[in-house]
Subunit: 211 residues, 2 copies
């Protein structure tokens, strides 16, 4: 497998899941502005939307969309136990993956991270979607993970919660989310993914500044 990623973007979830499963993977870094890849290619020539994560499967085909990629990784590397095996629990995994992708990633953090969003976006988004964060906080109260054990949904939610830093969203208002995030932060697969990507992210910023 090959994972196209940009440091600290949503592709960090796939990296953490791959580390969790000790998978043999080649990581290809994509500059988020130029879309140039670390192997010399241009991501737009491979995938017109030029979005990461993008996973090249063993048969050479490409798979986009975090929700699909994370389930592929879980199913491809089943001994890591990154997805539940029962049909009912798999439904709840899909439900949480979708909640994170739609309500957390796209509805809340994507607009907050968008430097070109219209004035007033931040206030509007935080007010409108506050009930989602409260709902998540209620769910995580007394729980270590979204489901009964660590799954790819936790890798994704952790990744999205990283964006509370650049967007200055104070998790102190939602103590169960904050506790969950801090607990995951020290999980070895996640700590490694975070520290490696943070270093690459700083290097990317330095390159952009020098250019």
């Amino acid at each position: 497998m090959e994972l196209y990623f940009s440091p600290m973007s949503s592709s960090l979830a796939a990296r953490a899941a791959l580390y969790e499963a000790s998978a043999d993977v080649r990581f290809i870094e994509v500059d988020r502005k130029t879309k140039r890849c670390s192997d010399g290619t241009d991501l737009r020539a491979i995938f017109p939307l030029a979005l990461v994560p993008l996973l090249r499967l063993d048969d050479g085909r490409l798979l986009s969309e975090n929700v699909a990629i994370l389930q592929y990784i879980a199913d491809r590397l089943p001994t890591a136990g990154l997805a539940p095996s029962s049909d009912l629990e798999r439904l709840h995994l899909q439900r949480w993956l979708s909640f994170i992708a739609t309500e957390m990633h796209k509805a809340i953090f994507a607009p907050l991270l968008d430097a070109n969003a219209p004035d007033g976006t931040r206030t509007h988004i935080l007010k409108k979607f506050e009930p989602r964060l409260q709902y998540l906080n209620d769910h995580l109260t007394g729980r270590e993970y979204l489901l009964d054990r660590f799954t790819v949904a936790d890798a994704y939610l952790y990744t999205v919660l990283n964006w509370t830093m650049p967007t200055r969203v104070d998790l102190a208002r939602w103590p169960a989310i904050q506790g969950y995030y801090e607990h995951l932060q020290i999980r070895p697969s996640i700590a490694r993914a975070f520290l490696e990507e943070m270093a690459l992210y700083k290097a990317e910023l330095a390159r952009q500044k020098a250019a």
Copy 2:
């Protein structure tokens, strides 16, 4: 099964899929402003986020999130062939469901439908996400469906494309999307779901006006 829905919202996708499979279902209408349900309950008491679609499974449990609900319907009613059976094709179904949920529904149409969004949102969103519509148009060029045959992903994409009407997004710029939409519009399951929900939607508007 029971489907909590609001007319012309994203829950129309589940209705179309259920009609496609000739499923035995009870539909419970939810007023999108008050969250009162047609069976007299308040959706917030059942599901704190009070979002539709919400599906009550045969064992009484509740399932939220369109991406999970649509796959459940496809798997629960396999003779309708609403999801591919091969693992690889299922991945691509998940990939398209996620693309529709994140890029189309949440990134493009949710902000366009949001009457309280900050000034400038419409122009910003249409400019930023135009490449997504172009990508979809390219994929649909020469195709009848997102995958090789009609699946729940088409029911979802059709539903989202309905929102081009209230948001005045002119599909003429993307002729393959327009052709796809018009072709699905006359599919019996979809035509029935559309016509029934449009009537309910008009009745809802009339109730709100009278109130």
